[in-house]
Amino acid sequence: MPFIPHTRADVSEMLASIGVSHVEELFSEIPESIERADLFAIPLGISEMEMLRVLSNRARQDELGPCFIGAGCYDHHIPAAVWDLASRGEFLTPYTPYQAEASQGTLQLLYEFQTMMSSLTGMDVANASVYDGGSGLAEAILMAIRCNRNTKSKRVVICGAVNPFYLRAARTLVGSQGVELVHCEHVGGRHAVGLDDFGEVAAVVVQQPNFFGLLENVDEITDWAASKKALLIAVVNPMTLAVLKPPGDWGEGGADICCGDGQPLGVPMSSGGPSFGFLCTRIKYVRQMPGRIVGRTTDSGGSTGYTLTLQAREQHIRRAKATSNICTNQGLLVTAATIYLSIIGLTGLSNVASASHANTRYVVDKLCASGLVSPTFDGSYFHECAINLHRDAQGVFDELTTKHKILAGFPLGEAFDGLESSLLVCATEKRSQEELDFFCRTLLEVLN
């Protein structure tokens, strides 16, 4: 009996104490009219050894060569210490830290996380996670609408090159609350500021670098949103903020809400989940922010300690009027990210960002030098870049995957009409010189 510690003697004693003669009697309140479960189609249990044999074979089957896809999920190096620490039972197996006195470890760590994220994004406060970048965008939109006292409008403008996977999820998540998401077409890969007139707008969403890796004119967009009394929601990759201007500094007044996915910060790709979404905002909006928030306080002996705070925003207190229905979040990934940021440190994160950018640029320059490939869009990009292969990118991608086990990038045609010949490529700091060269060589071979 895996995981069940009861001996026969235990069971007899316990049944005797309860005063029944068989465990089945404990279920007597379940009406007879409900059919008993039939699990016959599920195989019998196997040992950990056998389970690991099966799942190791499957895992091995999916091993591949170097990855040049980004598109919202990045293959960075994770220091060995990060998960050695995050996998400690004391971080892995507690619940949400409701009993603060018995959870100071996680609580202090979350307070440190909030500090790091606030500073990285240039915002006042951060929460302790939502599910992922997609749900982060959805929560940011709902929050912005609640926060914007200037208008009753539920219209939100989405700049053209916001991550389409985030947008797609956000559409589902906010879809039944009367929110109107206006997705502007990108112009040459970027947002054309102020070209359209949308009437009253609750918020504007812009991503930096945008999905194509291009740098948007975020200062102008921020000021434009402010001029329309709309809140500015910044979607960012937190890793890039080690070197890029933080949303809090955009334009005259800065962004109002900042969201994104924390995966680049020490979280394995793991098919895209579990990762974590983050939300940062101005202090004045903190009571509209969903998710756990940790505050520093004192204990009855006067010593500093940490506790969950502003719980009155949350579903377990506020119920139908809560800022969100989120309960379980992505705490363990936040734990890993906090440890990652501590180990990689200020210099490390900045170098990860610049090295990733330099690796991507190396690949792009080398490919373009061949004449077979050209940049899809003009202008500055960071860390990721769309390149035009001048033929069906999906076909090239498939050939590289099957023949060379290389993931060559994201074929943009999957998400954007008209970009069928473009590949979004990304080379993190983890890609070695040999891998970069091998990638260029094989891609050009296929194109030739």
Binding site: D62, Q114, R171, G175, T309, N351
Partner: protein
């Protein structure tokens, strides 16, 4: 134990974990207006400092791996290490979500199998693994209910009924779906008030959300009648699977009349709670809701596993996350169910229920008051400390804090709200009888203290890392980020 300074206080300018810092790349091509002007506040510490800091912090946590953790409704059972190992293999961890299916058959086979297993244990017709936690499963479920009514042109239904005892996520989710949450009374025996239900249902009723066993920790005996009433009124039944541990392998929600449900894999399927998450909240539906399932779903085509998306499920409510949910957690849940098998699953409910009934009985014998003394306990049960509160001037929270001193995590307190000064106690099937007996002893000692020396409770905990924390101050004088002058 000493308090641990924050990591920022350990930081020194230009210190770094040298082996982790890659060489910088040039940023010369980036116009300066895009660049950051001042450095963010990130720690500058050595690798050893970071390891000491977080190892020390970890010592300040209660956790299943260290403590009995009878947190009702949360199912804090053993999280098998083998499942963590299985999911931590490079082939799984290093898989980019946009990898083509042709070279992802290992991962997809895992997900497909899990879909099958969950379909069977819920007694439903199909499963989507997309939701990333229970609450997101609820959202997906209500969105499907909404889509269902809409698909039939039944546009006016805008109410979701939830019991007063329901978990907060239920009404909160109803709101997120644009529904009005209507509360239905729970009777003195813990079952929903059927007459009240009959009054509430009508043409506005989109559906009802129920847990069963309910959050009153009893099996809702009138479920079949309720299903009839709600269905007759044109509404659908949502099953909140947080308590599925109680009936795993016994009865299926599908056979109780539910149309849609979520499972909390981080409860019933033993994936770790991680100090707050991640979880996974797959949804299962019966035939009428299958067309609306959230995507992606793993299907089979020509002997190969494929992602089914909008093309295959055109009426889908859509995606819920950027990619395909918490795959790493799903693999852990599969690993767990492989080890249990059908025989192991049968035993989960048996022993969870045995433990709860034993503990309830022993506590009652010790003089504690059960909230529903005429009812059988399910996998959990409620006691009320109302009498102790009145007699000794101590509250349930004081009992809770004092329990920590016995190295036992407090049960869920003050939930559900309708039972005064309550403890919702869920021992789970992975705890030993000895451990339960220790809990009873601790509770008896605490009650004795309440009588003779109530400050032992009201000033508890005494032996933890901190004494009782001032939550009021935390909320009033918000201190949410560390600043160099904080100390």
């Amino acid at each position: 134990m000493k308090s641990e300074a924050t990591i920022f206080e350990r930081s020194r300018t230009n210190r770094a974990a040298g082996a982790q810092v890659p060489e910088a790349g040039s940023l010369a091509d980036i116009p300066s207006r895009f660049l950051r002007e001042s450095a963010p506040l990130l720690p500058e510490v050595s690798e050893l400092q970071a390891i000491r800091h977080y190892t020390n912090l970890s010592h300040q946590n209660f956790a299943i791996d260290r403590n009995f953790y009878p947190l009702g409704s949360c199912t804090m059972k053993y999280n098998p290490r083998g499942t963590h190992r299985a999911a931590s293999q490079p082939g799984f961890l290093n898989r980019h979500p946009l990898t083509p299916v042709g070279v992802s058959q290992g991962t997809l086979e895992c997900l497909f199998e899990l879909q099958e297993i969950l379909t069977i244990v819920t007694g439903m017709d199909a499963v989507s693994l997309a939701p990333m936690a229970g609450a997101q499963g609820e959202l997906a479920g209500l969105l499907m209910i909404r889509a269902y009514h809409q698909s039939r042109g039944d546009e006016d239904r805008d109410e979701i009924i939830v019991p007063t005892a329901a978990h907060g996520t239920n009404p909160a989710t109803a709101t997120m779906c644009g529904y009005k949450a209507t509360e239905i009374r729970v009777g003195a025996d813990g079952d929903v008030d059927l007459d009240h239900l009959r009054q509430l249902v009508g043409p506005k009723t989109a559906g009802i959300m129920l847990t069963n066993p309910s959050t009153c920790a009893v099996f809702e005996r009138q479920i079949v009648e309720m299903s009839q009433i709600v269905h007759d009124a044109g509404g659908l039944l949502y099953y909140d699977g947080a308590n599925l541990n109680a009936i795993l392998g016994k009865v299926c929600p599908g056979d109780m009349g539910f149309d849609v449900l979520h499972l909390n894999l981080h409860k019933t399927f033993a994936t770790p709670h991680g100090g707050g998450g991640p979880g996974a909240g797959p949804v299962a539906v019966n035939g009428r809701l299958v067309p609306f399932l959230p995507i992606p779903i793993v299907g089979q085509r020509n002997g190969q596993f494929e992602w089914f998306g909008e093309e295959e499920i055109p009426k889908t409510i859509g995606t819920l996350s950027a990619f395909m949910g918490n795959v790493g957690i799903l693999i852990r849940a599969l690993a767990y169910s492989m080890m249990l098998g059908r025989n192991g699953m049968n035993r989960v409910a048996d022993f969870a229920t045995l433990n709860a009934n034993y503990l309830a009985m022993e506590l009652e014998r010790a003089g504690f008051k059960l909230a529903y003394p005429t009812r059988k306990a399910t996998h959990e049960f409620l006691i009320t400390l109302d009498e102790e509160a009145k007699q000794f001037g101590v509250r349930a929270m004081d009992f809770a804090k004092r329990l920590l001193d016995f190295d036992i995590h407090a049960p869920t307190t003050y939930f559900p709200l309708l039972v005064p000064e309550c403890f919702l106690i869920e021992p789970t099937e992975t705890e030993t009888k000895e451990q339960l007996d220790e809990f009873v002893k601790a509770m008896m000692q605490i009650r004795a203290e309440a009588e003779t020396d109530p400050r032992m409770l009201t000033e508890a905990p005494h032996h933890q890392f901190k004494k009782r924390l001032d939550e009021v101050k935390a909320a009033r004088e918000l201190d949410l980020v560390w600043k160099p002058d904080s100390d």
